[in-house]
């Protein structure tokens, strides 16, 4: 369906990534946000709190990130598209209820504007070191969807994908920005509302007395009932059967957890979103995401001037990882190069998919700044040898 025009600020704007992200959420139909201030993400909720009263949304500044995350999970059960926004330390606090959202299969979006870590780290400076936390942060087995914009424009555009994927797969979706993208101001074009397709909450049509909240028919995604519609359903963070009732057994655990993982793992190809440039016939392929993708462009240009055939895969959706594509390429190229603002996270995933056929070379930046393009060029040249 087309989005609610009330939330769409159509036109050309000059916005930073945080504001663009907030606009993206509102354009995608988000009408409930709970948040707690944390640098460098706060501008997202500032933008939203400025505009929400005029578009029928409710924003509440909660007492902490634990509460913010719990509140958006609660709100989502009324059918409203909900979101929270944070950065590293707050992201850590949210993990408990991200797990709850995954277990209860609650659509919602969590924005993490990444800064340098661990702990308080570099509050005002860039990092990309929460990528594995996004994948594995909450305890237990589950799969997650995580997106990475490289610009304010993409922070706007990918927000629609984030909310739509959350609805489609009934899962929390993580929006992994970084401080650079968040605080970078650029032109952002917001389209007409009739150009924005959104996935509405898929409400069950079953009769209340026949409805089972976690019954699945083939596609692994159960039908949703919202609170207050007379379904009198139960949902829990405990391992549960299709009625939503707790069942403490190996069998129930196996059925439930396998489905939670498989609904994303087996749809990885469908979910995957990346941009390729010059990959066919390349000797070296860069795998990159977020702000680093833009810095890497110069490194690639410099390497191409030296005659190296280098391609790039820019991940717009990092989780689930485009495993199939990386495996394919591993048989055809000499090496992968992975620049990232951490001490090696996505490179491990590339290495796993390359399965020893070709090396995956990390170009690390420890955070607080972005790569020097020459370092990326040098890594490409080295890899091409």
């Amino acid at each position: 369906m087309k989005t609610d025009p009330l939330g769409v600020l159509t036109g050309e704007h000059y916005l930073d990534g945080d504001y663009a992200c907030g606009e993206g959420a509102m354009a995608a139909g988000c009408r409930f946000v709970a948040g707690y201030p944390i640098t460098p993400s706060t501008e997202v909720v500032e933008r939203i709190s400025q505009r929400f009263p005029m578009i029928g949304g409710t924003f509440i500044q909660m007492e902490d990130e634990l509460a913010s995350m719990a509140a958006i999970v609660g709100a989502s059960w009324t059918g409203v598209k909900s979101m929270t926004v944070t950065s590293g330390p707050g992201f850590s606090l949210m993990m408990e209820n991200i797990g709850l959202a995954a277990m209860m299969e609650t659509p919602c979006v969590v924005v993490n504007v990444q800064r340098g870590g661990p702990s308080t780290g570099l509050p005002t400076m860039v990092g990309q070191a929460d990528m594995m936390q996004a994948r594995w942060g909450s305890h237990g087995d589950y799969e997650i969807i995580a997106l990475c914009p490289e610009s304010p424009q993409e922070a706007f555009d990918l927000m629609t994908d984030a909310f739509n994927l959350a609805e489609e797969y009934r899962t929390p979706v993580l929006f992994m920005m970084d401080e650079c993208v968040g605080h970078m101001t650029e032109k952002v074009v917001i389209p007409d509302p009739d150009k924005i397709d959104i996935v509405p909450r898929k409400l069950t049509r079953a009769k209340p007395e026949e409805y089972k909240p976690y019954l699945v028919n083939g596609n692994m995604i159960p039908e949703f009932a919202r609170a207050g519609d007379g379904y009198k359903f139960h949902t829990t963070g405990l391992t549960h059967d299709e009625k939503g009732y707790p069942v403490m057994s190996e069998e129930c655990q196996a059925v439930l957890v396998k489905r939670l993982v498989d609904k994303i793992r087996l749809n990885a190809d469908e979910i995957a979103k990346y941009k390729e440039d010059g990959v066919d016939g390349a000797d070296v392929v860069l795998v990159t995401y977020g702000i680093t993708a833009r810095v890497a462009r110069m490194g690639i240009d410099l390497a191409r001037k030296k005659g190296v055939k280098v391609g790039v895969i820019r991940l717009q959706i990092v989780w689930p990882f485009p495993e199939k594509r990386i495996r394919e390429l591993a048989g055809k190229i000499k090496a992968f190069v992975v620049p990232e603002i951490n001490y090696g996270q996505i490179v491990l995933e590339v290495e796993r998919c390359a399965a020893g056929k070709v090396p995956a070379i990390l170009v690390s930046h420890m955070g607080g700044g972005v790569h020097n393009p020459e370092d990326i060029r040098d890594a490409i040249l080295e890899a091409a040898k």
Partner: protein, 297 residues
């Protein structure tokens, strides 16, 4: 001795049946645990209030009391430890027409969830919060709680508790709760009346029910059975409506002051928000509808 009634009865004839998930009975609560009594009184209050139960949601956290959401035949959310109140806050703000009740134990509500509790009371979020206080962590095996009276023994204070416990009605009152009451699980009529009254009020309504935990609290403190604890409530509880909440601390096996302490209407979070935006934004303000902010096809 008169003859026992010999009619075969169907368990579904029990008047609580429409409010309980009968397919989940028996519940997991220990013999003499008071939670079941509180659930029965809450169901009776709902029944007598004539509320549309399709619009009633129940949220609970973790622990013995956390299981309540799973046993009541309402939209029920069994959430994470301590987070029932913020979860319920989202639920209420997401669809303001819902009537949201939080069932929470003492460790859940004011131990791990203490910060959420005081802020929800401060904001006067429209929630009915029912605290089931048994002075101990039951589900995990009898550890010290923020409500354990001084000298009472727990599995992590084997030589007796030396930490000062919370006086929770006072905490709620001082944070601005609009309705505050305390009873024991023996006070079935007063408790039911308080639930009914609180269901008809708005804002952050807090009712503490002191309940027996014979499996851990009574055993670790050599207080006998749950029946002995109930007898202690009978002897030591005192109804003092309107008393200053500063004076209602509970000491070990000492007096339990019960009653309704606060009943004041105050504008809720949503009232304040609507009024404020109407005043400051005028016609530009588009409030989320009472039915919620869901965008339909």
């Amino acid at each position: 001795m008169s003859k026992v009634i010999e009619r075969t009865i169907d368990a579904t004839e029990h008047p609580i049946s429409p409010y309980i998930r009968m397919d989940r009975m028996p519940h997991i609560w220990c013999p003499t645990c008071g939670i079941g009594t509180v659930v029965k009184c809450y169901a009776t209050a709902l029944d007598e209030s004539g509320i549309d139960i399709n619009k009633v949601s129940i949220v609970s956290g973790i622990g013995c009391t956390g299981r309540t959401a799973g046993y009541m035949n309402l939209d029920g959310f069994h959430t994470t430890h301590g987070r029932a109140v913020p979860f319920a806050t989202g639920l209420k703000l997401g669809r303001p027409e819902l009537l949201v009740t939080v069932f929470s134990g003492d460790g859940d509500l004011v131990g791990i969830g203490g910060n959420h509790f005081i802020h929800a009371a401060r904001r006067n979020i429209d929630l009915l919060v029912i605290l089931i206080n048994n002075f101990i962590y039951g589900m995990t095996g009898g550890q010290n709680a923020p409500t354990t009276p001084i000298t009472a023994k727990t599995s992590t204070m084997p030589f007796g508790n030396f930490e000062r416990p919370f006086n929770i009605p006072h905490l709620a009152a001082s944070c601005g709760a609009s309705y505050v009451a305390r009873y024991t699980s023996l006070h079935v009529r007063r408790m039911t009346k308080a639930f009914k009254e609180a269901l008809s009020r708005k804002g952050f309504r807090f009712i503490e029910i002191v309940t027996p935990c014979s499996t851990l609290y009574a055993r670790l403190n050599k207080l006998g059975t749950g029946l002995n604890l109930i007898n202690y409530y009978e002897k030591s509880s005192e109804i003092r409506n309107g008393v200053d909440t500063r004076d209602i601390d509970i000491s070990f096996q000492d007096k339990i002051i019960c009653g309704k302490f606060i009943d004041e209407e105050r504008p809720t979070f949503l009232d304040m928000m609507h009024d404020h935006y109407k005043r400051t934004l005028g016609d530009r303000y588009v409030p989320m509808s009472n039915e919620g902010g869901m965008i339909r096809e």
